[in-house]
């Protein structure tokens, strides 16, 4: 029963990821006074891509073809261990943040390889940029996670959420810093403005898009879907760790329903924040990305320091 629930949760996760992307698009369009596409437009896009025949360049090796599968499957695996609407699921035992970051790293590794595989200039450039960004973002992410772990005494997501739930509302300086740091990392890792712009194909500014420029059809669809799941993953991580209230602690239908409702509202609100920031900020030059990420690292580090300095009785 519980395993079934875990499976259902994962399915729900990957199924609703395009919806979140649609909602984000809608928010942005509203803010920019444009007419928004339907909420379900991302599904239609995916379906369209799925139907098209993938064109593969001649020099492509097996890595190029395997990469989309690997990227999608690691992302789905990552999604399966993050508590979405309920904690204490059987998957919680492997729901470790370090594992999560490992999944991401694995997917990114293959994507970067695929970018270089064909040997075009853009692919290589995109891969090198992506690796630069991730090399700077990962320490910040880990630092934020460790800050969290110091309070909750665990890196297990489910346990950490339980801990936050049980201590009630505590204004922890370290959580505020860790949350801000994590948000910045999320922006960088999911390739949003101001680090990267997912809607542009301007060669000088592309990061993520440069890597996947050679993909088409089904392969492109998988990668797009994976990145939508990734966006949602970060969103779920932020809202469920720092504001876990509402998440189901038992498996009764009411609790689960309430959990789903709460999550929807929280995610919708977070997306509005993200949309706002995307509208307000311009994309920064690639050379300033390291400043952005070092600031994220600084925030996470301050979070850890403020935990040590402020929150513990000496």
């Amino acid at each position: 029963m519980a395993w079934l629930l875990a499976l259902l949760q994962t399915l729900l996760f990957i199924a609703s990821a395009p919806l979140l992307a649609g909602w984000l698009k809608k928010v942005k369009c509203r803010l920019q006074n444009r007419r928004a596409p339907s909420l379900f437009q991302p599904y239609r896009d995916l379906r369209k891509l799925w139907r098209k025949e993938p064109i593969v360049a001649h020099p492509a090796s097996w890595i190029f073809k395997a990469a989309p599968y690997i990227v999608l499957s690691t992302t789905v695996l990552a999604a399966s261990i993050v508590p979405l609407i309920a904690v204490n699921l059987p998957t919680a035992k492997i729901a470790d943040v370090v594992v999560l970051i490992g999944f991401f790293a694995l997917g990114r590794f293959f994507l970067a390889l695929a970018g270089m595989d064909i040997g075009t200039a853009f692919g290589g450039m995109g891969s090198s940029r992506e690796m630069t960004v991730s090399a700077l973002a990962e320490p910040a992410m880990l630092m934020a996670v460790f800050t969290l772990a110091m309070s909750a005494s665990t890196t297990n997501l489910s346990v950490a959420m339980n801990y936050v739930l049980h201590t009630g509302l505590v204004l922890r300086p370290s959580f505020v810093f860790a949350m801000l740091g994590m948000m910045l990392v999320a922006v960088a890792e999911t390739g949003r403005i101001p680090v990267d712009n997912p809607t542009t194909h301007l060669e000088l500014t592309m990061i993520h898009e440069a890597m996947i420029l050679e993909y088409s059809g089904r392969y492109l669809g998988m990668i797009e879907w994976a990145s939508q799941i990734k966006l949602m993953l970060y969103g779920v991580l932020i809202v469920n760790i720092f504001f876990p209230w509402g998440i189901a602690q038992n498996f009764s239908p009411e609790a689960l329903g309430f959990g789903a409702l709460a999550l929807t509202l929280k995610l919708a609100a977070l997306t509005v924040v993200l949309g706002l920031s995307e509208v307000l900020f311009a994309k920064m030059r690639i050379f300033r990305v390291q400043e952005f990420l070092s600031f994220a690292y600084l925030l996470s580090l301050l979070g850890m320091l403020s935990h040590i300095i402020l929150e513990v009785r000496h």
Binding site: S151, T167, L169, V170, L171, R172, P173, S174, V176, F177, Q290, E291, S294, F295, L298, L299, L301, L302, L305, S306, I308, I309, L310, E311, V312, R313, H314
Partner: protein, 225 residues
């Protein structure tokens, strides 16, 4: 896990303390003068809120006066004065190139760790967890100094100086619930006079070296040129 035992007001004090140190870091990384002054004003306002909260938590009404004093002086008067000066002197378009802000920031975190280390024996004395913030206040003082060291603009030096004062005031609030009223008024008076004098000095410096870049104040030297 001591923070969970506190009331929300006390937690808020801790939170505000950490935000104050964050504003210090933001100042370190800010190259535009007007924004620098703005962040300084935010720091002053946060400080005033913290003081008011402390007054409420500790039930010491005279801290309300201190909070009001801080708000008017550090949150409103000095920032507005600096802002006017920056605008009048046409400095708002100047951008100071900061040599490697990331390194300065990391140096700043080093200072935070250092002040924690220095203050540890003090913190251990008292069961009050709010006393932990004394390390933060010392860090604000040291970060103010770091700001002064890394900048060349006289205005930035003044902001650094005033933020050192902020740190000291914060230390007084968290460790001893504020100084006696006489002393506090005296300090406020000194700060006010210092702020006005700084304003006067900007004009002197500008008329003598035609800019506010204090690196150009280099006539007095031990070594003969």
């Amino acid at each position: 896990m001591a923070i969970t035992e506190l009331s929300h007001y006390q937690q808020a004090i801790l939170l505000l303390a950490s935000l104050i140190v964050l504003t210090s870091f933001l100042m370190l990384g800010q190259s535009r003068l007007l924004r620098l002054v703005f962040i300084f004003a935010v720091q002053g306002i946060l400080l005033a809120i913290t003081t008011a909260l402390a007054a409420d938590v500790l039930d010491s009404p005279h801290l309300y006066i201190s909070a009001l004093l801080t708000l008017t002086l550090k949150g409103i008067f000095i920032p507005i004065m600096l802002q006017r000066l920056v605008l009048n002197m046409g400095l708002h378009r100047d951008m100071e190139t900061l040599p490697n802000p990331a390194r300065v920031m990391m140096g700043g975190t080093g200072l935070v760790v250092f002040s924690y280390y220095v203050c540890l024996p003090i913190v251990k004395l008292s069961p009050l967890i709010t006393l932990n913030t004394i390390a933060i206040s010392m860090a604000v003082v040291l970060l103010g100094m770091l700001l002064m060291i890394t900048r060349r603009q006289a205005v930035a030096h003044v902001v650094g100086f005033m933020s050192i004062e902020n740190g000291l005031f914060f230390a007084a609030v968290v460790s001893t619930y504020g100084m006696p009223m006489v002393v506090e008024l005296g300090i406020a008076f000194d700060v006010l006079v210092a702020a006005v004098l700084f304003g006067v000095f900007f004009f002197h410096i500008r008329s003598s070296i035609d800019s506010l870049d204090v690196d150009q104040l280099n006539r007095l030297n031990e070594v003969e040129k």
